[in-house]
Symmetry: C2
Subunit: 618 residues, 2 copies
């Protein structure tokens, strides 16, 4: 009954939230090519937004060893920027190789015959996309909570609400390339650069070593290389999202490869300046981690007080982090659809919804991300250890794919490209190992179990689809459909309009082998039925069965078994009359025998089931 209700009312709610359905033809109408400096902010929300939590994650790790350990953030940030440069250079190679856009999965599929290698890329990216949503939304909510401490207790609820809004927006379908999305990221970039330069101005006035600056080059007790690497791997969470531009080469104006590369260089420069400046000021000001006040909020508060600029920075941070999560919805659902189309994920992920987005992927992402947010109570620092490993795994796979490609395809300057990707591949694989080791106990083990599991299930799914395709394949010349002899059973519960309707239908489709079946619970009712049937002029053969257990299933099951034994080849059709009441709640007043019978027969017997509806007028 619940089902009726939801079906009848779900549709109007869906229309309200999602909007009118769109035609498939509208799919190709939405692309208008972008100038590179408009594409820059649109495609950089994911990468650039992570400056808001990357350095903070690094310092949080270091601060566990006291203030003296904080200076390590400077060399760590420099290493991060070097890594960023190498990655961007490697990805520019990707742009050159795949001008139609190629994610790690596409590159791996193109260059490795072994399916599991491309599945490493896809699974680890899918896992990281989920984590990106959880981390970005949590960081966004934490940014607002820093400015308005009253919302701190509701962080989890607010974060889940944000994911729900993102779900609705993505089911409605926002074109990833909508130009309006450029402005918040522009604004956020401007604010961050303003913050960085205000910091330098402050330092030229008050000195590069201020009273609050922790000591430099002291080595605190208990500090080991492993712990420094751990802080480094946390800080590297700022590097996720680099792949976006290389996936999106087709949205650039011609010459698109050149424009994409220009964008990569510009984005890399701005990110490097921001990261280094931000981390440096955090160090100079000796900012300490505070779970209820992000470091960005602390630093901004220090330079500007809680004035309009502080508000602007907080709200731009919020919007950009939400945009980062938003772009991930497109990335996740598209990747899942591509992998599903190859038969490695449930085929339902390839279905386009009413608004042309891959709705199932979008819903799956929102669901899992919400669960993660609830499990980790929207705390970014708890989620960071799980993060970025997947991205670096897929980076590594992509690099080695490109290495193979250069060796195979060659082309102009292929040796330089080969060397760049070899260096990149070695470094990203080293970084991936560092991540795995240093974050292992902090939660990375979960990811390192989940990714192989996804690969395992992907292969199992592929095998299942393959098996079924083999099973269903027929030779059109040899196997042609021929009319079967069908044995038809009509269930009658008495003699009334519904039975009249059903029997008239049954006589229309089956003349020779038609049996009406009546199940009675006592001899009296059976006798009466037989007598009335006689009175009705014996429309067809009537079989009466007695049920000892007040259930239609058991005697019907026996009858089917008997027919099957007699005539092995003829399919059996069971015709069930079904009331359709006028109002859904009227279903409560009628025994759902037809429904239960259908479910039971479907599960237990190899019979064709026909439901003849009778729409009640009252």
């Amino acid at each position: 009954m619940g089902i009726w209700f939801s079906i009848s009312n779900f549709n109007s709610l869906k229309r309200l939230l999602i909007g009118r359905p769109m035609r498939t033809a509208e799919l190709h109408a939405q692309h208008n090519k972008l100038l590179w400096y408009i594409a820059l902010p649109i495609l950089s929300a994911d990468l650039y937004s992570s400056v808001a939590y990357g350095p903070e994650a690094g310092i949080t790790e270091l601060a566990k060893f006291g203030n003296e350990a904080k200076w390590y953030i400077i060399p760590i940030t420099i290493s991060t920027i070097v890594l960023l440069a190498i990655l961007i250079l490697s990805y520019i190679m990707g742009v050159l190789a795949y001008p139609n856009g190629g994610g790690a999965y596409a590159i791996a599929k193109d260059n490795f015959k072994q399916r599991w290698i491309s599945l490493i890329a896809s699974s680890s990216l899918l896992v990281d996309y989920i984590l990106t949503v959880a981390v970005s939304v949590s960081a966004a909510v934490q940014a607002v909570a820093s400015a308005y401490p009253t919302v701190t207790p509701y962080e989890t609820v607010l974060a889940v609400l944000c994911v729900f809004l993102l779900l609705v927006v993505n089911l409605r379908g926002v074109a990833e390339s909508a130009k309006i999305l450029a402005w918040p990221t522009f604004g956020f970039m401007a604010c961050m650069l303003l913050l960085v330069f205000t910091g330098f101005f402050n330092e030229t006035k008050h000195g590069f070593v201020q009273p609050s600056t922790p000591s430099f080059e002291t080595i605190p007790k208990g500090m080991t290389l492993l712990l420094i690497l751990k802080a480094f791997s946390s800080a590297c969470s700022a590097l996720t999202g680099i792949e976006t531009i290389s996936n999106a080469v087709p949205v650039f104006r011609e010459p698109r490869q050149k424009n994409a590369i220009k964008t990569y260089v510009a984005l890399g420069t701005i990110t490097a300046v921001t990261l280094l400046g931000f981390a440096y000021h955090l160090y100079v000001r000796g900012i300490s981690p505070d779970p209820n006040n992000t470091m960005l909020s602390q630093l901004t508060g220090y330079y500007f007080g809680h004035n309009i600029i502080y508000q602007l920075i907080i709200w731009f941070t919020f919007i950009v982090l939400i945009l980062a999560a938003n772009s991930t919805f497109t990335g996740f659902s598209q990747l899942a659809a591509i992998v599903a189309a190859d038969g490695f994920l449930p085929r339902g992920l390839t279905n386009r919804g009413d608004r042309l987005g891959y709705s199932n992927g979008i819903i799956v992402l929102a669901g899992i991300a919400s669960l993660l947010i609830i499990a980790f109570r929207a705390q970014t620092n708890a989620l960071i250890p799980l993060y970025a490993i997947g991205v670096f795994l897929s980076f590594t796979v992509a690099q080695f794919g490109l290495i193979k490609r250069w060796k195979r395809v060659k082309g102009s300057n292929w040796k330089i490209k080969f060397i760049i990707n070899t260096v990149g591949g070695i470094i990203t694989s080293v970084v991936a190992v560092i991540f795995g080791v240093t974050k292992f106990t902090g939660g990375a083990w979960v990811v390192l179990i989940v990714i192989p599991l996804i690969i395992f299930f992907s292969l199992a799914i592929h095998r299942h689809y393959q098996d079924i395709a083999d099973e269903l394949k027929i030779d059109l010349q040899l196997l042609k459909p021929e009319a079967n002899r069908v044995i038809t059973i009509v269930l009658v519960s008495g003699l009334h309009r519904v039975v009249h309707n059903t029997l008239s239908f049954a006589m229309g489709v089956s003349q020779a082998d038609l049996i009406a079946v009546y199940v009675g619970f006592d001899d009296e009712s059976i006798r009466k039925m037989e007598q009335k049937w006689e009175e009705w002029g014996n429309p067809c053969r009537l079989v009466t069965l007695k049920s000892k257990y007040r259930s239609v299933l058991e005697p019907l099951s026996r009858l089917i078994h008997l027919i099957e034994e007699k005539d092995l080849n003829a399919p059996i059709q069971v015709i069930i009359p079904q009331f359709i009441p006028k109002k859904w709640w009227h279903n409560l007043l009628h025994n759902q025998t037809a429904l239960l019978l259908r479910l039971w027969l479907m599960r237990h017997k190899d019979v064709v089931i026909t439901t003849v509806p009778y729409h009640l007028k009252k």
Copy 2:
């Protein structure tokens, strides 16, 4: 998919909890007639168990005005006993009139033409049965929590667990007349009488006025008649369950009426002695309400300490209160089945389950009682204000029914019987009004809204069944089934084994008007399909439709509409192939198009739906 899982696993769990299904013939095998002194404890659990909370409920009301108000419990208890005597006398009249057992509903149905009067009796009894379960189980758990304060925080959980156990036991089916159920009530009676006589012995030794005894006949400030009546109505919660014996006359040994009357007198005497003695000792000892220690536990602890007798009384109280709830399950489900058989409640309530009990009624009772327990956190005192009104309403209806009967039927001594029931009827109606007024703000208003609502819905349900019966009725001589011309649509999604199987079936049931329908999402796939169909030798007419919205529903719907317009009288049959995977979770890997299509067609179109299963081998 969840449905598959639950269906496949639910059955074995059900067998474990409920036991093997029983034959209808076993229904009449279980009755063996009872001696009156065995019937006494079996049928009295509901009434007698309420002495455990009746006086306590009264004193709790009085204690709000301080110790000086407590003496009112003596006149209140005496009034309660007078009321008990009148009720028993009235019910003996019922036994004389209906030797086959007659509840208030049966009496009202027999004597009033107006249906709503008997519905007052049934609805108010049903509501009170639900409250009985909630109150008895809560009181039982509170009794144990008094002895073992550690369980106090878990009262709600434990009470819900008890209801669940009662649900399972009743679905298994415990014969209400099982002799084993006699012993706990015997034990409880013995314990209560022991307590009462220990009390008197104590008072002969230490004086009938002890240092702890509150003053007598003082009138505390603010005490009004209304407040005394409120305490009286709370104390009267001890009187529920009187109707049980009159409903169960047939289980007595012959002469059954005489034996039933004997039982009524004996039970009345024992209850009166216990009530008065218990209430008196509570007064003498000046016991005060304590939410974590019932008064019965306090008094027992005072006389015996926490020794074996205390333990016996606590555990007998627990068991008897649970038995009271248990007998209510039978009462509720039987009454609901009788009312449903008359067409005033959903017909599903008349279905006997595997173990011959009315399973649906049992489940409904357990569900609502659990919700009440959770809402009121298993606190008896919070539930008492809702309680007993229903019972007194149904008492009143029964009395007036009997009055009408004596006037109509007459018979020996009819005038005495008439006078008894008239006095009884007046008093119970006055009491019902007192209950309604005094408990109104405490929660009784809910009951006074719910009962009319149930009556309203009962009448609506009856009208619905009547309408449908009229709609479905046919004249067997005039309307005979005739073979319809059926237009058959087969959905084909490609050319493979499933389609071959489905088409062979379709050709078997429909030769002339068979149309294969293919829905494509682009021109290319439609062209290919038409070509392959040609190759297959055109097994039947093929119609190809293009879907602009990536959905089969919309083009199929248009086609059905076209056919309907062309040929109004021919029923349309849609044949849908359906995969049945080997493992339930494989359903996740296949689009549930067949299922969704069926639901949608069922809801929106007047077509016959045939599902041809194809059981996958892998």
